[in-house]
């Protein structure tokens, strides 16, 4: 049976892992390579590195980080942040990442999804989407870009369906309303999008305890759950989360 994946997100700024709340107030929480190795040893299923300053900076340090992570862990990992051209995708994959997450650049240039998928395969192209509740939109959720700061005219469900059609192999769906709150994932939007697309959906934003993951992986119909602060804080480990999920009958890799 296919397992529900637990994916840890490391927000990276200037080569260090940071954690912010609602995209603000980032604090340094450690070396991303050392953290990746520790989570790998704990049995995490996948990792995501999100370079929160990349669009404003030279990508060199991020590619060095990707190369060092690839040497250390032997599970899939995805890299996002500032990847806006086919050449950026190529360099990131070549450095050792399996997947790239395209967020704002995909909104500005949707053809990037199609071009990336044609060259590197659908499995390589992850659509990163920041969605926020908005009753004015058909699905009730609006897509934001630039780290959640800029509203677009895109409806979250329509954009997800379009990205799938363009060739995205997976969607990381981040709820701006829930992000950093540790009050639980946004179940409604996750369930809505996951039940309408045929590609896997990774729920993101709001995880604070294992029950939140259980909820989004069942009621929310998510294929995977992204977590950050609940493990970065040391409050939970990957194994304690998986023990809890397994105890609730959710299939996880042990």
């Amino acid at each position: 049976m296919l397992k529900k994946r637990i994916i840890i997100c490391l927000d990276v700024k200037d080569g260090r892992t940071t954690k912010g709340v609602k995209f603000l107030d980032n604090v340094d929480i450690g070396d991303p390579v050392i953290m990746a190795d520790a989570y790998y040893a704990q049995g995490v299923d996948e990792l995501v590195f999100y370079d929160i300053m990349a669009s404003a900076h030279d990508r060199g340090p991020t590619l060095d980080l990707v190369a060092n992570v690839a040497k250390t862990i032997h599970i899939p990992f995805c890299v996002g942040g500032g990847i806006s051209t086919v050449e950026d995708i190529r360099a990131t994959i070549k450095a050792g990442a399996e997947k790239v997450s395209l967020n704002s650049p995909a909104v500005r240039n949707p053809a990037l999804i199609r071009e990336g998928a044609a060259i590197f395969g659908n499995q390589c192209i992850v659509l990163g989407m920041d969605a926020k509740r908005d009753p004015a939109m058909p699905s009730g959720y609006r897509v934001y870009i630039n780290g959640g700061r800029v509203a677009t005219e895109l409806d979250a469900l329509e954009w997800a369906l379009r990205a799938e059609e363009l060739g995205a192999g997976e969607i990381v769906l981040n709820s701006i309303d829930a992000d950093g709150t540790r009050d639980g994932y946004e179940i409604t939007v996750t369930s809505l999008i996951s039940s309408r697309v045929s590609i896997p959906v990774i729920a993101s934003g709001g995880a604070g305890k294992p029950e939140h993951l259980a909820e989004v992986l069942t009621t929310g119909k998510a294929d995977a759950a992204l977590i950050a602060s609940m493990v970065h804080s040391g409050e939970y480990t990957v194994s304690s989360i998986k023990d809890s999920l397994a105890g609730q009958g959710i299939p996880v890799r042990r």
């Binding site: 050792g96 395969g121 499995q123 995977a224």
Partner: protein, 207 residues
């Protein structure tokens, strides 16, 4: 020495890094003359079947691989490399290498309606068949390995199947005939379980 076949089809970096980790020496090459001197070959690949076949032909690797297998030398196909050793792929209606009998098929279109996403992506557990494989030595049945694929192997001869994975039905995901073996999953991305299989193939050290 293990040869890794590099034919522009996806990323081989993760295979190289996995072999580094288990201390198995390797040479990466697209040159049949260089590869012919190797003890064993890993044939990786991600991407699209028709593109991959065109690249293989361009480099003369198609006939090289058939001769290699016919000579009874060890070959391990991985992911796309496990598919295009068969006769034909539905992906782009592509004639493949024909080293093993069978067809590569797409997962049924109605899978998502049943809650089975395409691609089949993530960790899923192995059931061994036909006695498994020596590459599974030290690997417990039921171990999870990492998959990502939208097409699957449908061998003409069920006795070739060494492992299946449950995704809507028992999907063949490891095959063996003589010196040729192939994994649909990614051993290089399957943590210590996958590294153990690669160590069994290369003579490296599991870790």
């Amino acid at each position: 020495m293990t040869g890794i076949i590099d034919y522009n089809a996806g990323n081989i970096r993760s295979v190289e890094l996995a072999l580094n980790k288990i201390g198995a020496p390797f040479t990466t090459s697209a040159n049949p003359a260089e590869l012919s001197g190797m003890d064993r070959l890993i044939f990786p690949g991600v991407g699209e079947a028709a593109f991959a076949m065109a690249e293989l032909k361009k480099k003369g690797l198609d006939s090289f691989l058939r001769d290699w297998a016919a000579a009874g030398k060890p070959l391990l196909g991985v992911c796309l490399g496990s598919q295009i050793i068969f006769d034909h792929s539905e992906e782009g209606d592509t004639p493949c290498l024909g080293m093993l009998p069978g067809i590569i098929r797409r997962f049924p279109r109605d899978f998502p309606e049943k809650g089975l996403k395409i691609p089949h992506m993530g960790w899923n557990d192995l059931a061994f068949h036909n006695g498994g494989s020596t590459l599974f030595n030290g690997i417990p049945e039921g171990s999870d390995v990492y998959f990502v694929h939208s097409y699957y192997i449908d061998p003409a001869d069920p006795s070739l199947v060494t492992a299946t994975v449950d995704y809507g039905f028992p999907v063949p995901c490891a095959v063996k005939r003589g010196s040729v073996e192939a994994f649909q999953f990614h051993p290089e991305k399957s943590g210590t379980i996958g590294l153990g299989m690669l160590a069994n193939f290369t003579g490296g050290t599991a870790c």
